[in-house]
Symmetry: D2
Amino acid sequence: MCRWMAWMGQPVLIEEALFNSPHGIVDQSLHARMGAEPTNGDGFGLGWYGAGEGPGIYRSVSPAWADANLRELAAHLESPLFIAHVRAAIGSPVQQTNCHPFRKGRWLFVHNGYLAGFHEVRRALMLAIDADRFPDVEGSTDTEVVFHLALTLGLEEDPIGALERTVGTIEEVAERHGIAGAVQATFGISDGECLWAVRYASEGPARSLFASCDAGAIQSLYPENPRFRRLRADDRMIVSEPFSDLPGVWQEIPQGTVVAVRQGSELEQRPFVPRRVRGQGPTAARDLAGAVDG
Amino acid sequence: MCRWMAWMGQPVLIEEALFNSPHGIVDQSLHARMGAEPTNGDGFGLGWYGAGEGPGIYRSVSPAWADANLRELAAHLESPLFIAHVRAAIGSPVQQTNCHPFRKGRWLFVHNGYLAGFHEVRRALMLAIDADRFPDVEGSTDTEVVFHLALTLGLEEDPIGALERTVGTIEEVAERHGIAGAVQATFGISDGECLWAVRYASEGPARSLFASCDAGAIQSLYPENPRFRRLRADDRMIVSEPFSDLPGVWQEIPQGTVVAVRQGSELEQRPFVPRRVRGQGPTAARDLAGAVDG
Amino acid sequence: MCRWMAWMGQPVLIEEALFNSPHGIVDQSLHARMGAEPTNGDGFGLGWYGAGEGPGIYRSVSPAWADANLRELAAHLESPLFIAHVRAAIGSPVQQTNCHPFRKGRWLFVHNGYLAGFHEVRRALMLAIDADRFPDVEGSTDTEVVFHLALTLGLEEDPIGALERTVGTIEEVAERHGIAGAVQATFGISDGECLWAVRYASEGPARSLFASCDAGAIQSLYPENPRFRRLRADDRMIVSEPFSDLPGVWQEIPQGTVVAVRQGSELEQRPFVPRRVRGQGPTAARDLAGAVDG
Amino acid sequence: MCRWMAWMGQPVLIEEALFNSPHGIVDQSLHARMGAEPTNGDGFGLGWYGAGEGPGIYRSVSPAWADANLRELAAHLESPLFIAHVRAAIGSPVQQTNCHPFRKGRWLFVHNGYLAGFHEVRRALMLAIDADRFPDVEGSTDTEVVFHLALTLGLEEDPIGALERTVGTIEEVAERHGIAGAVQATFGISDGECLWAVRYASEGPARSLFASCDAGAIQSLYPENPRFRRLRADDRMIVSEPFSDLPGVWQEIPQGTVVAVRQGSELEQRPFVPRRVRGQGPTAARDLAGAVDG
């Protein structure tokens, strides 16, 4: 299990979301309430958009609650769009290359959940990754494989479509291996302009996922709250679990759903529907089908 | 808060006590039951007697549950006497020099608890350390200061007497600073021949501490248990909290008490009584009193 | 031995100075030319002024050349004033709290060199630190003690005067201990407005230190160089050793000298003259003299 | 570039070989003389046979010269057979799973050198690994792939034969990719009974490799040397570069050669001849040939 959060809106010091909220993501590294385990102490990562080319990432194998550098960065980095992730490893080593977010060019990717029977399907899924992208896989997590598969299937042109094809492919591979409940996931994705969040499980309830409500609505509910008063119309957070218990501040994202956060728009929402790619997709997808058969 | 354990008896692979017990010390790094916090993820340490001169120590800033090297060492080191400690930092940095056990020559020292108002008394206590020993202080924990004070006050000749003088001194310094409840502690100490364990609090209930019962008694209660069948008469464990819920296996060490484990003897037990050293002790102690006045 | 560098001028991506120069500070972590040892692989640190309150610091025990996070931060942090330091430990542990820069409020402090016989004078010097500041000492380096002594002696009001009193005090303490060549140092200090650099040795040649020449002079020497063309009049670097062999780009800072870099001014330079504080300074200094006697 | 060493003979404290020799392997982490680079500071590893099942391994991302735990282990572990490796990364991340030795059951494996164009051949080589072993690949080095390929091709039954087939396969794959000088290597392999060392390069001179001379010969050359006097007839070291300049103590292992060290025997030596496996080997090898074609 893991926990993640994303901010999109006015530029803020990152510590606002990481440390200064009552049950912020760093508190969730030690005391998660809605996950399988309270502790997410097997490393963490932060990806942010700001100065320089593309997003920066800071990843560490220390628990988030104890990392002095994370406090420093959070207190001295301002960003309009960032994603943070705290990790609870299930099987794979605690190493920086296994920490989220994963990045390719302008894209960031985080995941809470797992691929069922990953040990058994790892090879088949890695073979389905573009040969050119294969050497970029640096770690040993299921998530990094999902990300490179999604890149193979077109993430950079059509992120959600590619992710639907990716999940469909994984479900197909799992099926061939007799594995049930192939994908358990919330995903966070961004290209620096838009922030997407997916909640999906092949079987049973998916991991929890929430979006903050509209800033105006929050402010009219809690007119005296000084933190809420600083919110602007475009500010939005996506979180694995709410930072507070205040009613009317957080809305649950329904299972099997993807939401998109864009500047100047409402929160968009539509179904997330995995698709199998066999024999119908672009070249990479057809190759993939072949590889999966092999 | 922290948790620690010590084994003295027949040589065993260290993993027996660290990993193979149902609620062993590594499990307690993630799921402690009797402490203020369930998580003890701010580093750990292992000290063992075996080959080479004096005890070896392995200390790491990783959480014990996630450290691949700890698993390796535990599975490949055999020792008749070892102490392990998992740390929950309160204020001081997560760094190897702040991990227990501390060592001097043949001596190992661990602590669960704290010095109240340590920030305020740190200087006075460090001044009370022998000038010659002062440069050996490498980290910034209260425990390391306690250890060097105890060395100053004669730990190597009279470990428990020295520790009683040390606690008395700390209580005196705290009193001058208007600090109540100066010492909260269980201590584990060894010279490779004997293992001492102290349970003491200046005020209120002390941290929990248990000793395993006599091997024979355990075996007659659980004649079928294969782990217990391997016990020998001299085997003894001291633990912050029991490794299992089985009745008759663990005995609580009373507050204000010190126990001593020696090969071929019963578990010895006597009161632990802090003593103030002003004007009555050896030179170092008198100097100390002067320093404390200053 | 260590190496450090500081930039003050137009805001730049930090990687310009850390990675993109031919013999920049990260290259010096592996291949220093002017120091006692080529390797400075015992951790590093970066302090920068930018968003948030006061400077941020990032410190790590990894060698600078191998730290993926340093590359990330350098590529995504823009700052008008930053200091980087690569460490070669001499005796004290490799831990974050021993990495430079040290910080207090708006102040950053780095050091290349050592205090002779630090093991012997550590206690006397730590006693000379303000009792209130004493608990802030987190690591075990000589440099951190120098910094807290300088704070005790007025660094925040009169940085160079305080440093002259600090060095004078250290020389006096060393003399009492029969230690020659007490201080070997280049220091870098900033409050975010001004950058000071000191080159001094109690005996013999001091560690190397250089300032970049005036931007205009550099540009007229190398009119075709694209990196130099981007320089502005106020840009200045201070470095332990030059980033290139180009004549006319770097000027050596003479021994026993302090330079000051301020926006809109020439490089100021004056002698650095250690002063003993006995019986003549402010209260803290007089107390210090007493402590040193004690 | 990397450096490694292996000891086989009477049980010794590991520090004898790591720290107490004038130019031992830890000194080589900072000051290698015969390699492409003097610094091997990107982590290290130690594998040893002793208590517990199979060999233990301790791997760390710290430079060997600065790792306090390595000093501890070396001073308190006694072993008749151990291998140590200091790493200089070329491209792949500094993480424990990229540190040597690699292990499978009773087998240890280290490598100095590289696979040319690994980025391009990584996928083809990983496909050639047994599907069942594929999920065991945890890191991203060329060496780990070599090891799992060799396991696939029979390392556990016929270590040198398997390694000859492995190198042959790699050369074949490289050829298909138009890559010259496919393999540059010294390898160290052990099962706890025997120690093999290979020196081979597909093109040009191979990395340096030496064996210690017979104990008796060394002792008759240097009858007064107290370290040499402790040697017994069966003691043997294999090293990337000699620990001293003393003539008659070290013999160079010729290129294209494998040596075997066994208790009670002379040093055995024979040519190392890579073999291509297409169409002639066991099933795994034939599958491999197919995979390589694909």
